[in-house]
């Protein structure tokens, strides 16, 4: 019943021109944007702090003059980290609150559910944490300032080619995330003149000895491993150590790069390994101020610096777009495609032709039990 009602509603809205929104925001002294994030459930662990970050950022913007003298406000909706709630939230924001811009979602399933609704209504969606590669082609109005999983593969391939490796062996888990990274690595590496031999394993695998042996027999200097969880690296590294194989260079996925627990057992073995990392660059001062303010306001350290930094940047980019072109989804979309090398909390921000973040991950190297950025 609800679905039918929603369908009817969306049909009505699609037939109305979207430019009629001036009646809503025209004379008012507030510009309202929508936001969809997981505010309850497990994923509220991300959603709640990001909501606070966004609200603090809005406060900061309004204290500095707002949008051409108008106040910026966020209308919050709960996406619950699932497609059903996110699409209901999106319908509500677009049809009832008449927003032109939506911040979020956090979970990829939220963003993917928002995409077709927003695309049809010419409303911009800017996700700050969804990494699924399919968001790249989710629509013209769909943006994200968090890197796609696929961009990791590109980073790895470029680093390998730049270091002069021409022959690589790849060990990848059979999950959407890992295969996505692996496919892009192989594509870019072979396009750059490299040669890659791939071995995949199912997620249930606990015995990697023969897979590793096959890769060892290829005789490459570079091993690229893409596992879904740090725990898998625990087994892979153990079995590599036992078979006495350590090629000249090993690349581990961001999953290992974001985790320092592996160093407890493999600090020496991992020395010199490469990985990918995406987070606050540690130098952008306004974000450091926000972190201080967060701690003052909520009495705890800002968690998830990576997602928080992208959320902070996203709210600012949207505010700048609204200031420059007004509260109009289509114009904001065009503005975002023109954003180039905007300096923010995660370094330089540019959107590519798909609305994806250009670049993103930075290369890190294991050094004495820590991940150190490669310049």
């Amino acid at each position: 019943m609800l679905t039918i009602a929603a369908l009817l509603l969306s049909a009505c809205v699609n037939s109305t021109p979207t430019t009629t929104t001036e009646t809503e925001g025209g004379e008012s002294d507030t510009i309202t944007i929508g936001a969809v994030m997981p505010l309850t459930g497990d994923a509220a662990a991300y959603g709640t702090p990001l909501q606070r970050v966004a609200d603090l950022t809005v406060e900061e913007i309004n204290a500095n003059g707002g949008i051409n003298g108008k106040k910026l406000a966020i209308k919050w909706e709960n996406g619950e980290c699932n497609a059903k709630s996110a699409s209901t939230a999106g319908q509500k924001l677009i049809e009832i609150d008449k927003v032109e811009v939506i911040l979020g979602g956090v979970c990829s399933s939220e963003t993917l559910a928002l995409a077709p609704i927003a695309e049809a209504a010419h409303v911009v969606v800017l996700s700050t944490a969804s990494s699924n590669p399919s968001i790249t082609n989710a629509g013209d109005y769909i943006f994200r300032d968090y890197p796609s999983d696929a961009s990791q593969g590109e980073l790895d391939a470029n680093a390998a080619l730049a270091a002069g490796y021409t022959k690589a062996v790849v060990l990848s888990e059979q999950t959407d995330y890992a295969l996505g990274v692996k496919d892009v690595f192989v594509e870019k590496f072979t396009a750059g003149g490299g040669e890659a031999t791939v071995e995949t394993y199912s997620s249930e695998t606990t015995d990697f000895k023969t897979a590793l042996l096959k890769l060892q027999a290829v005789g490459a200097d570079l091993l690229v491993t893409v596992a879904q969880t740090p725990a898998k690296y625990g087994v892979i590294l153990k079995q590599m150590q036992d078979m006495g194989w350590k090629p000249k260079q090993i690349i581990v996925s961001e999953v290992a790069g974001a985790d320092t627990a592996l160093f407890v057992e493999y600090k020496d073995f991992m020395e010199g390994m490469w990985s990918a990392d995406f987070s606050y660059d540690g130098v952008y001062e306004p974000f450091a101020n926000l972190m201080t303010k967060y701690k003052e306001t909520y009495g705890e350290d800002l968690p998830y610096k990576g997602f928080s930094a992208t959320t902070y940047d996203a709210v600012y980019v949207l505010a700048e777009a609204l200031t420059a072109v007004g509260n109009d989804g289509e114009k904001v979309k065009d503005y975002l495609y023109g954003v180039k090398d905007r300096v923010g909390a995660v370094g330089k921000l540019s959107f590519d032709e798909n609305g994806d973040l250009v670049g993103g991950y930075s290369q890190v190297v294991a050094k004495d039990g820590a991940w150190v950025k490669v310049e």
């Binding site: 071995e199 087994v235 150590q241 006495g244 057992e265």
Partner: protein, 301 residues
């Protein structure tokens, strides 16, 4: 350098792991006449109890191993008393489904206590103690050697025990015909309890050794039992020696199948389980009683 020696070694190690689980599974099948799917959880419980005593409580490994084995024997006896004994007269399908239930129950309990994460017996920086044989043609660790040796030791002691001791003969008698054995003054419930105890102890030893090789997590038992079950069917149900041989065959064939490259083409590692179950299907078509079983009935243990 040819990778063949290492491939065969990998196969033997994997085979020994399957065989260790298959041993207990086969022993239980012989006397109960159903496949106890909860057997893998006994191994898992052993691995976690050892983790609790050795890593969390910091007890010496030998003491922890004894405590873990004793703990699993107690769990095994409780499971037997509370679930399988009341169902003694039920058919094997009922018992099979019950064992599946017990398996999920044990998994959930361990998950509640220890959480779903993968754990390891490593403490601090790990240093590999692997031996290099034939100029590095084969690498093998003490734990891998232990898995192979202990499998063979347990198999031979079990064989001697069943064949030559009074109790072993009683077990075989109950396996052959429970009613006739009872008439002759053998108490079937007592014998079944003893068999449960022995198989639980073997499972605990297996669990500790396997966890030391592949790390431990609450669902490890189910994956183990599936492969061991395949091994038992390949070798022949109800014959512990056949189960062990089936285990080694499965491990070696699996590793050779995915490891050998012919004219630049090889089977990807992700097809490893596919290879195992293909073998299973072929065996079931070609020799439904298993490679080593001459008879379907009789000589069950």
């Amino acid at each position: 350098m040819s990778i063949l020696p290492q491939l065969i070694t990998n196969g033997i190690i994997a085979g020994a792991i399957y065989a260790l689980i298959a041993l207990g599974l086969g022993l239980l099948y012989g006397i109960l006449r159903f496949v106890n799917l909860a057997h893998g959880e006994m191994a898992m419980a052993g691995a976690f109890l050892f983790y609790f005593f050795a890593i969390q409580k910091g007890l010496p490994w030998s003491v922890s191993a004894i405590l873990a084995i004793a703990g699993v024997v107690v769990i095994g006896l409780i499971v037997e008393r509370c679930t399988f004994r009341p169902l003694r007269k039920a058919n094997s399908t009922t018992n099979l489904v019950t064992s599946l239930g017990v398996s999920f129950l044990l998994q959930s309990i361990v998950m509640m206590i220890f959480g779903p994460n993968i754990r390891t017996y490593e403490i601090g920086q790990r240093v590999s103690k692997s031996y290099s044989i034939w100029d590095g043609a084969i690498h093998i660790t003490p734990n891998q050697i232990a898995i192979m040796v202990i499998t063979m030791v347990i198999l031979s002691s079990l064989y001697i025990f069943l064949k030559y001791t009074r109790l072993g003969k009683a077990i075989r008698a109950v396996a052959d015909n429970r009613e006739v054995a009872a008439i002759l003054g053998i108490h079937p419930n007592k014998i079944i309890m003893i068999v449960f105890g022995i198989s639980s102890a073997i499972a605990a030893i297996a669990g500790i050794l396997i966890a030391n090789e592949q790390n431990l997590y609450p669902t490890m038992g189910f994956l183990l039992v599936i492969k061991a079950f395949t091994a038992v069917i390949i070798g022949g149900l109800g014959n512990i020696t056949a189960g062990v041989i089936g285990g080694f065959l499965l491990g070696i064939i699996e590793n050779l199948a995915i490891g050998i490259t012919i004219a630049g083409v090889s089977i990807p590692t992700s097809f490893r389980d596919g290879v195992a179950f293909l073998i299973l299907i072929l065996i079931l078509i070609w020799k439904p009683t298993g490679l080593l079983n001459k008879k379907t009935e009789g000589s069950r243990v």
